[in-house]
């Protein structure tokens, strides 16, 4: 093993002795990868806790048509997420969240096209694809704002639930609309809490991603990367943006589909 395929002039010892990149990636790109790995652990922490809490609750048994919201079992997601903007009262399960998934995947595609254009030093193309990516990100955030609003405001018909009254010290049967961190008309309180924490943490990532993407667009527009001689920043922020898409793939499956 005196010589490796990485560099014919570098022996195994020299490979890690400095002067060459054993991983074939720049410092910045490498650090982005390891940051994303740590971020993956954070998201895994949230999703695994969700898995623990959800599997400790009883699941709804029976025909989906007879499903009603109750504290006694975990809700069926397609019964909770069935609204679409401008179509009030129409039951379209998972359609809106499907659209959000489509938007995020498409913005990931435009991002990778921006990276490809960057490799060719094609400033105009990078600008174009970065703008599409930013637009996709903003659209996704807008959709999420609507989704949250709908989730918080609730359905037309409230769910009757036992809520503890701290004044009188007894449990009252009260109509509950929507959900927040105190009450939840859709089912167990944990369901609402995880919805806010997981989609909120992801949404915050999308938000920071949009800011970073805008920074990249601005630098491209002002010719920073042309002067620098390479468009590697597009690649690094691209990694972050794809990661945000990747997390959504998991959130979509484990929060909305399963």
């Amino acid at each position: 093993m005196a010589h490796t395929a990485v560099a014919s002039s570098a022996s195994e010892k020299d490979l890690w002795g400095g002067g060459v990149s054993p991983m074939g990636a720049s410092y910045g790109k490498l650090m982005m990868w390891f940051f994303l790995l740590s971020d993956a652990f954070t998201f895994s922490g949230l999703l695994i806790t969700y898995g623990l809490i959800r599997s400790s609750h009883s699941a709804f048994v029976g025909d989906h048509a007879s499903f009603v919201f109750s504290h006694d079992y975990w809700p069926v997601p397609e019964k909770v997420f069935e609204a679409v903007p401008f179509l009030h009262g129409v039951e379209l399960p998972l359609v809106f969240v499907g659209l959000m998934t489509f938007i995020l995947i498409m913005s990931s595609v435009t991002m990778v096209l921006a990276v490809e254009a960057g490799h060719r030093m094609d400033r105009k193309a990078v600008e174009k694809w970065m703008l599409w990516t930013i637009l996709g990100g903003i659209t996704f955030l807008g959709c999420q704002a609507w989704e949250w609003t709908h989730f918080i405001v609730g359905t037309d018909v409230p769910t009757m639930m036992n809520v503890f009254n701290h004044e009188t010290g007894i449990w009252d049967q009260v109509p509950v609309f929507g959900a927040n961190l105190h009450v939840n008309q859709y089912g167990p309180q944990d369901f609402a809490d995880f919805f806010f924490f997981i989609t909120g943490f992801h949404g915050f990532h999308v938000f920071s991603g949009v800011l970073l993407n805008f920074l990249i667009y601005y630098n491209t527009f002002t010719g920073v990367y042309d002067r620098r001689g390479h468009y590697e920043m597009v690649e690094k922020v691209g990694l972050y943006w794809h990661f945000v898409d990747l997390v959504w793939v998991f959130v979509f499956t484990f929060f909305y589909l399963v």
Binding site: I105, V109, D226, D245
Partner: protein, 110 residues
């Protein structure tokens, strides 16, 4: 053109048609798998089989995003494994905690 010396000489290469076509193919696969997931969501009864199918399809999508879009498949092998191997902890934690959750459920709701 007094500023000419400050402006970099940039050579713009033509689009790599083959690469771009491949990227759109990957996008098509991702959207196709999402559509399949949708169909399964409404046609299959809830249970272990449905959940397993969703998990597998999600891993397929994750593989395409990380491998192709994030280009990890084409990076140096040591980088590839440095990112993938730590995921073992996540998988173990997931299995352990979901199992734990099921046991907690048995105790709570008996």
């Amino acid at each position: 053109m007094a500023h000419a010396s400050h402006e970099p000489q940039v050579v713009v290469l033509p689009p790599n048609k083959e690469k771009i076509k491949k990227l759109w193919t990957v996008a098509g696969i991702l959207l196709f798998v999402t559509v399949i997931e949708f169909i399964i969501a409404f046609t299959m009864d809830s249970g272990v089989l449905k959940t397993t199918t969703f998990v597998l399809l999600t891993i397929v999508k994750a593989g395409y995003i990380v491998g192709e879009f994030m280009h990890l498949k084409y990076e140096a092998k040591i980088l590839f494994w440095s990112i993938l191997i730590p995921m073992v902890f996540v998988i173990w934690m997931l299995v352990a905690f979901v199992y734990e959750g099921l046991k907690i459920g048995e105790v709570n709701f008996l």
